[in-house]
Symmetry: C2
Subunit: 282 residues, 2 copies
């Protein structure tokens, strides 16, 4: 038996079409498109690619973007100052700080300089708490995108056992909290987990989010389980040993074409939502 | 075999003695004691008792307290206004809003009106994120007190399986995040968990924090496990079926005399710490 593939590209395409319609409506009513400011610090080629891709998706749905590129020598104070300025700029609706930032920059201080109502990438502590407590606010885009994908495939969550492998502030922890808010029984695993195989075997839903190629072995997957692979390692390899996992899972995301497209779709939808709120339409 | 009892009263007494010394030192240097403002809304007798107890403990370690009692008819706006005023008052070092507040009050809005540097009860979203991300800040007192108690008994956490029963914003979720920050593999259970017995059986450390008398049955406890009972139900009954759990556990907290005293000890220690920071000593 082979798993059904969760087609993130297709689900994201529908979501993007809805966002495009929303953006058309906004632009007609407000007289300008929603605007996402992207901030990039340093010369990391992958980060440049990601930002370019996000800006090009913005353009496709009619969202304007403003690009700020800063040298790798930028200080924390300079970056914080810029983000505070964008937070106060009425012509900017959403702010995306591409991470990772260079090692000498205090990334948390930078994130916190983003006004919560423009935090469309869901990186501030305020957004984190909103996800945890079910308050109004923006979700981190990858975790929020994963939940959308699970919903698109009608994956039941209440009372099911979900296992999240990874505990980063913008991926593992928020996805665990979102699954908990949806009434799953959630286990968080990480590099210190004593017997990862045993924990994954219990899972009705597994989310792999560590950035280690094929860390989650196919033979650990409970037959019929839902496997979400949020890893994206060089060579289009995920955090799950896909070929073998696919033989046991009920549903599985591909890499690429699974979680990735959902992340961008959520970013754009949240930008449209921020613009509506900033314009007093929501 | 019967479990060793984790004596929260005794551990808290040592902690309070340290805080008393800190407070003496602070008072000598600053010329006034640290001050905790307690805010109580409405007529709930249990809440009145808790606040009285906290104020009396403050007095014993030399912390001054300011008591604000508001009628049950207080609006959210009035409460928010008062908490904002106390947040800006240089003569107040820490603020405790006794919960629950009356049903018509937006408790989250009230909590958020407490300045993070005076949030010695650890109830703001900022404090929550600090616990989650290991940032400087104050812990929710019961979760923080539980961690202190585990440390006092040298309970190993890295790689161990911890199960938290309950997911409230000031108890279940923060204790789960603190255990995760200490490298435990953490599972969060709640009312929708399908087979609570099975999940508890996996736990090396169980924290019961739901407020349902003896919900966690003794026979579910893995032999030798550490059992922390944060429940406190009428008649001195915890959330754990103590008599039978005690026969299986390696370590167990009593009710009362386990988690309760640690909660107050942490509140006072955090008030002393807030005062030191507010006076520029820390």
């Amino acid at each position: 038996m082979s798993a059904l593939i969760m087609d993130g590209t297709s689900v994201a395409t529908s979501a993007l079409a809805e966002t495009a319609e929303r953006v058309r409506d906004f632009t007609a009513r407000v007289g300008r498109p929603p605007v996402l400011a992207t901030v990039l610090v340093g010369d990391d080629p992958a980060s440049h690619t990601y930002v370019r891709m996000k800006r090009s998706r913005c353009a496709r749905v009619g969202i304007g973007s403003r690009s700020v590129e800063l040298p790798a020598t930028t200080t924390t104070a300079e970056l914080v100052g810029l983000l505070a300025e964008l937070s106060g700029d009425p012509a900017v609706d959403g702010i995306l700080l591409q991470h990772p930032v260079p090692g000498h920059v205090d990334e948390r201080a930078a994130f916190e300089a983003i006004a919560p109502h423009k935090d469309v990438d869901g990186v501030t502590t305020r957004s984190f708490a909103a996800m945890a407590f079910g308050l109004p606010g923006f979700a981190s885009c990858t975790p929020g995108g994963i939940l959308r994908l699970l919903d698109a495939y009608d994956v039941p969550l209440p009372g099911r056992r979900a296992v999240v492998v990874g505990r980063s502030p913008i991926l593992g922890k928020p996805v665990a909290l979102l699954l908990l808010a949806r009434d799953a029984t959630v286990t968080c695993c990480h590099s210190k987990t004593a017997d990862l195989a045993e924990v994954v075997r219990e899972a009705d839903v597994v989310v792999a989010a560590v950035g280690r190629p094929e860390l989650v072995r196919g033979e650990w997957v409970k037959p019929g389980a839902v496997v979400v692979d949020a890893g994206y390692n060089p060579g289009n390899v995920g955090d799950v040993e896909h070929a073998t996992a696919r033989e046991r899972a009920g549903l599985i995301t591909p890499v690429p074409g699974g979680v990735g497209p959902m992340t961008i779709a959520l970013l754009l939808e949240q930008t449209a939502r921020a613009a509506e709120a900033n314009a007093g339409l929501a």
